[in-house]
């Protein structure tokens, strides 16, 4: 399966915990099956939604391995392998590759703000030792680092297997620039839920989202409508799901998606502290939205 095939709705998984806070892999299996049945075009474990940053190394490996086995190449799997150190990122990326990932996603998370040169070398070090494609991920809201379009294009042009870009700044003009600078040749993906419609209109090849854990049909229909150039239909579908997209982003994806899964029959536990579970009022609002949409 070619990484070039990655497109459409890329469903992000949560990482379920049991009452004691341990991994609950069977629940992860249920949630993956729901995503695939819902029609997602790819699966992405261990991202922001998957609390990848809050897991021990052993937990991280267990989730990566379990997910790849469960998906079993029915759709491509893109594993988030971001770690604070270059060595840790590379180790995770190789683990993913060895266990059958189609691609890895790399966000330059940081404690100290990194210079452009440090970011560049980080991608090069990982890229040079990997045999599968890398999706470069820009999300200053979580990483504290905002990669300029100039830097992204430099990395893409210099590191052979950085072949995809996920953009989550919320600024649609970044996608315009990626399109113009690459003469439309660089596949870019949208990671900001409330930009779903505009990103597809601007040429995004896919939408990286946790929403299909709850409303996969609406997400897929929006992709279809824009693919087929049906603007009015796409607009109506977008505004229908937008309140939910706003809600899950504002409330924090691990908290809101886990609450939504519980409301729809999959018990995935609470997010790991300091993240907190969605409160009662939030659950009530979410139930109201789900009632209307599903």
């Amino acid at each position: 399966m070619s990484a070039q095939a990655i497109h459409g709705i890329i469903g992000y998984t949560i990482t379920p915990f049991d009452a004691e806070g341990h991994l609950d892999l069977p629940a992860l299996g249920h949630s993956i099956e729901r995503l695939i049945e819902g029609g997602v075009h790819a699966i992405a474990p261990l991202g922001s939604t998957g609390e990848g940053a809050y897991l021990t190394e052993q937990e991280w490996e267990a989730v990566a391995k379990f997910t790849l086995t469960q998906v079993n190449q029915r759709v491509p799997t893109i594993v988030s392998v971001s770690d604070l150190t270059t060595a840790g990122t590379l180790r995770r990326a190789r683990f993913a590759e060895e266990h059958g990932a189609d691609a890895v996603m790399v966000l330059p998370i940081s404690y100290w703000k990194l210079s452009e040169e440090e970011i560049f070398e980080h991608y090069r070090a990982v890229g040079d030792q990997l045999g599968i494609p890398i999706m470069l991920y820009n999300n200053p809201g979580t990483s504290g680092i905002d990669m300029s379009v100039d830097l992204i294009m430099r990395i893409v042009n210099s590191v052979g297997n950085v072949t995809m870009v996920k953009e989550s700044t919320g600024d649609i003009q970044r996608m315009h620039q990626l399109h113009l600078r690459s003469q439309g040749q660089l596949p870019f993906y949208n990671g900001c839920n409330p930009l779903a419609l505009e990103a597809f209109v601007a040429g995004a090849k896919g939408w990286c989202t946790a929403a299909p854990n709850l409303i996969p049909e609406l997400n897929c229909q929006l992709y279809m409508a824009t693919s087929e150039g049906q603007l009015d239909k796409a607009k109506a579908l977008f505004y229908r799901q937008l309140p939910l997209l706003d809600f899950i982003l504002r409330g924090g994806l691990p908290s809101t998606i886990k609450a939504g899964l519980r409301l729809t029959g999959i018990e995935a536990g609470a997010p790991r502290r300091p993240l907190s579970a969605l409160n009662a009022e939030g659950c009530r609002q979410l139930q109201g939205m789900l009632n209307e949409l599903t």
Copy 2:
């Protein structure tokens, strides 16, 4: 002509000066004719592009009166009447109304940052004494004030003749919220050139832009394509004109549009100091883009 008819491409005029820095009304007449011949759906004098903030009161009145006479109701005219004081804004708004404007545009420009209550009272004071519609204008980049969607909705719901909103933050999500909060009933207009495609897709009723001074056909075709739901055509038209839209925004609209008018046969002079004319390298780049697009 009803203000509700305001839609499509709203062309912003420059304010031409002669070599001594005095108003050059004949040149303004030429530029208005070009906009109307180019197919714009409305004309907007004395906005940011029109250097309204840099004119004396006498000059401001002369430009307002001349423009309304020249347009002569062939298309609606929306006059920017923003002034630092509430009294000054009201005086300009009444002048525009008395001379036949279809609507006025009000940006809460400031020296001291205004509180939400001060902004609200500013709109109420103007609205209460005016018989024509007001387009509320949000543009923190020039005004230093960013009105929240909450505040905008409060003003729209309380001041009867604030019936339109122009949004220029560059954040498409503001338009989403205006659409959702008003159940699609509040007409909003895009004032950020590089968001032209996405704003129409998100439901903007019009595009407030100085670009039709240079490329009116491309601007109108983009509006038409989105109106007719032709997504692929709209996308191609948008990316074709985007480099020029980026260029005129980055270089400052008075400077770049006046330079472009000169390159295309209308001498409108230089912008008023401290604004500077486009330099030689900028003119060369602009000529290159115009060669390609026209």
Copy 3:
């Protein structure tokens, strides 16, 4: 009187209006007398506090002339002459010079954001035609333009009569850099009330403030204590007046200072709309602070 003599507490005047909103010059005279009796080392009319941006040209000239006559060189007078256009700024600067100002203050206010080159040329154009010193003023909070230390030093080194810098960003590190870059030779002044202590400690030659309209003794004592190197005394004086300094800044200087003048016996009217007068709760708080401090 040499401009090099400008130091210490530089008291900013309000511009009083009567009940009909017209200039109230006698009240201005009273407030100037209070400032001088309170011990300020210089007087500065028509600044941010003085609502200079909200006056007509005739009002502006009347206030400038009246103030210079009233002060009558008992202390230096620094007139704020900022205008949106370079021509307007120059005209005001010459008016101030002709009527006996010791120096003028120039803030590069803007509608369109200015480039560094445009700002530089603005100062050069004014400086080249003026015979008195200019205090360059940096205050992004009101002007929308933040001049870098690099740009400020370039202007100071190139325009002969720009001999003083007023810094109001609230970032004490800017003052450090002005000190280091000029080997301690460039006089800089603090325009951010809550930084009064630290700015003097860092070497500021003066404090530009509207606070002496209300608490001139405390302001002057703080200056004295730091001049004499009495750190503990300065710290105690600073923390004593800080709540009031915070209050007048947060509430907007024209509104809070005019309210405070009324509470202490000078009726200066309300600020000009859209600025609003301090509300009843604010007046109550202000009265409480004044009771404690005076």
Copy 4:
């Protein structure tokens, strides 16, 4: 040794690595001895300078244990125990307590932005299970979270052993507010090197800094001068060391301090990737400054 005794110059240690990237504890020992000989009043391992965020759990524990043994209560030791999870932070804090730390420092690092409630619960969970004082640390530049003074005061007032606050926003007004809100009773510490002078003047009880790895005498003299109210001497000492303080902050503390240690005879290796070692030009500049200051 009481935590209340923590004051003055709090020296932050680097974490040395050998050529293979493994911990070099003997080098850590040398650097600790130099700090103590230089006169620091406390030692703080595993902070931002100590690359605490980039270590494995085993490495973290080894450094904590080694440092506590080496210092051997000659001065207080404050161990940074921040971890992305609450459980991990608590585990580290207990480890530090068990091995003799006088206090721990907790920065609410995050991947997902935390709500105020989540931050509050994070501190409470750690505080409730710890027998030694906690220094709350606010540094949005590295943590991505900016705790308001309101939130800090709420935590201090509710969690018994949060008894100290380290402020690194670079905004001296935060320290003013901590002082005013606590009637001068809450000990606060400055973590922003270029604010060293002003923070002491505003009442900071200590300066948390990596600078004493290179210039301990100048740091201690500045503290002494402000303690004794010698303003002119303090100012001269501050401006003398400011270029170095600016340099080490701008270049990243792990990189610049390790380079400086090498230049002064302690080989501590390079920082861990993606952080990069100071380049040749940077080393040359640093050498020049050290020549002048030591």
